[in-house]
């Protein structure tokens, strides 16, 4: 995965070579959405409607998230983007009075079926929130927490997982001597990476980021973005962000939500250079209002 043969990857992922025209590359217009990221989605929504009481918050959303890709969801406040990603690991069930119609498939299996255990699901589909939310415990205990509640007792295994997760979250070098210190003493950026490490410790397959940098300074934001780019080698990543430059920097694909509708989804470079829908253009160029 680390030295990707781009050409081979394009072929194996359904990219049609005939779409590349001439020596200079791809004609963006003709390429359309038949792009190089044509793999089977890891997780997808089909015809999803979602209601808070009688109010419909999402309208007939169908979208797939491909493995080892970052998909950014953008849109103005209240468009339903955070609501939507919370459906992907059934977090919506924690809110009373909500109702969901449609299907959400993880590796082709419906996660909404009664046979699917939400706790098991959330191990496979982890979430990182806008505000870092470490537990008032030590750094080590924070990362080990998910393993322990899942019944892992082997101390050596726990230690291995904690160290591995902290390394993957690009935090190990900074706090390897402070594992027994309270997590609440870390900086905001470190706390957020700790939350990512906590999420990684239970070996998820999909990671949902809900505005993970909203409360961070630019340096910490840069570290989280670098981390997301690193993590995408192993995970399917969906990120909700208000920051369009962030979406442009970290994502392979971008989806634009507006008033509960999915307006447009496509390759990030296409969305930011030449969106198909006027409403997307108006939003990303700041003409909304």
């Amino acid at each position: 995965m680390h030295n990707v043969d781009y050409e081979a990857q394009m072929k194996t992922e359904g990219f049609h070579p005939s779409l590349v025209k001439g020596p200079v590359g791809v004609n963006m217009n003709s390429l359309g959405e038949a792009d190089m990221f044509g793999a089977e989605p890891k997780i997808s929504a089909r015809g999803v409607n979602f209601y808070y009481g009688s109010k419909r918050a999402l309208n007939n959303i169908s979208i797939g998230f491909q493995p080892r890709r970052v998909t950014a969801i953008i849109g103005p406040s209240g468009c339903g983007k955070s609501t939507f990603i919370r459906l992907l690991n059934r977090m919506h069930e924690l809110v009373p009075g909500t109702r969901l119609e449609g299907e959400i498939l993880l590796d082709g299996l419906d996660i909404l079926s009664p046979a699917c255990d939400p706790a098991e699901l959330r191990k496979r589909v982890g979430m990182v929130f806008q505000k870092p939310n470490p537990f008032p415990k030590s750094v080590f205990e924070n990362v080990a927490y998910g393993l322990e509640v899942n019944g892992v007792t082997d101390k050596r295994l726990i230690e291995e997982k904690v160290v591995g997760s902290l390394k993957k979250a690009a935090l190990w070098g900074e706090i390897k001597d402070r594992l027994k210190d309270s997590a609440l003493g870390l900086s905001g950026g470190q706390q957020q990476r700790l939350c990512i490490a906590r999420c990684l410790a239970v070996s998820p397959e999909v990671i949902l980021f809900d505005e993970p940098c909203a409360s961070l300074d630019p340096i910490s934001t840069g570290k989280i973005e670098e981390l997301i780019l690193e993590l995408k080698k192993d995970y399917t990543i969906v990120i909700v962000t208000h920051n369009m430059q962030q979406a442009a920097r970290v994502s392979d694909r971008t989806a634009f939500f507006l008033m509960g509708d999915l307006i447009e989804e496509g390759r990030t470079d296409n969305i930011f250079k030449a969106p198909r829908d006027r409403r997307t253009e108006d939003y990303i160029t700041g003409r909304f209002g």
Partner: protein, 222 residues
């Protein structure tokens, strides 16, 4: 919604139009100077190029500022990247008009080899193509821009005809005509190059308006 950024983009557009007007005037004046064997007019074209060079730097700087400070996206991004390219094309057109003016200076003191017919026609085509490209920039008319791209062969055919006539009709028959024929050959070449730059501008404008890449993709023009 009103955006202050739109005012900045309009200022950039105005600068490009200012530059286009100067470049178009330089083409017309250089061909007139050649036709009329007017050394003073030719010198004026050469001197006025400094203004185009000055504007080029201003526009370059403005484009970099807009990218650095506003991080433009989508149509805004395509507009600014197109402005960067038009800026280069227009500056080159100005340089080619200077080249024509320099040839005018060379031949002004010598008797004409023949009455100038095709070269002024080539000059008209260069003016028309440049003007149409700029008009498509102003109006966003991609059909007009496509016509500019497709009309390039007209200039190529005329240039080849001039070359053929000067080489085979004069220089091959009488080597002593070379000092009067070569400046005309070069002039035809300069004017044809102006047409090529007009084509490049039109291709950039089509991308700006519709995000369709026609450069190196002639099938997209159908």
């Amino acid at each position: 919604m009103h955006r202050h950024f739109d005012e900045e983009l309009q200022q950039l557009k105005d600068r490009i139009l200012e530059m286009a007007a100067l470049a178009q005037a330089a083409i017309a004046a250089s061909v007139e100077a050649l036709k009329n064997r007017d050394k003073a007019a030719a010198q004026k074209v050469i001197d006025s190029d400094a203004e185009l060079d000055r504007l080029e730097l201003i526009i370059d700087d403005k484009c970099l500022d807009l990218i650095a400070l506003h991080q433009p996206m989508a149509g805004d991004l395509r507009f600014i990247t197109t402005a960067i390219k038009l800026n280069v094309e227009l500056e080159r057109i100005g340089d080619l008009a200077v080249d024509v003016a320099q040839r005018a200076l060379v031949i002004a003191d010598k008797p004409l080899l023949k009455p100038l017919v095709d070269i002024p026609r080539l000059g008209e085509i260069a003016k028309r193509m440049t003007g149409s490209a700029i008009e498509s920039f102003i109006t966003g008319d991609t059909e007009l821009a496509k016509r500019v791209v497709l009309s390039d062969s007209e200039a190529d055919v005329l240039k080849r005809s001039v070359e053929k006539e000067l080489i085979y009709g004069y220089m091959m028959k009488d080597g002593s005509t070379a000092d009067r024929a070569v400046p005309l050959l070069l002039t035809a070449r300069h004017l044809e190059r102006i047409c090529d730059h007009a084509v490049s501008m039109a291709e950039d404008i089509i991308y700006m308006v519709s995000a369709v890449v026609v450069r190196h993709h002639p099938e997209e023009l159908k």
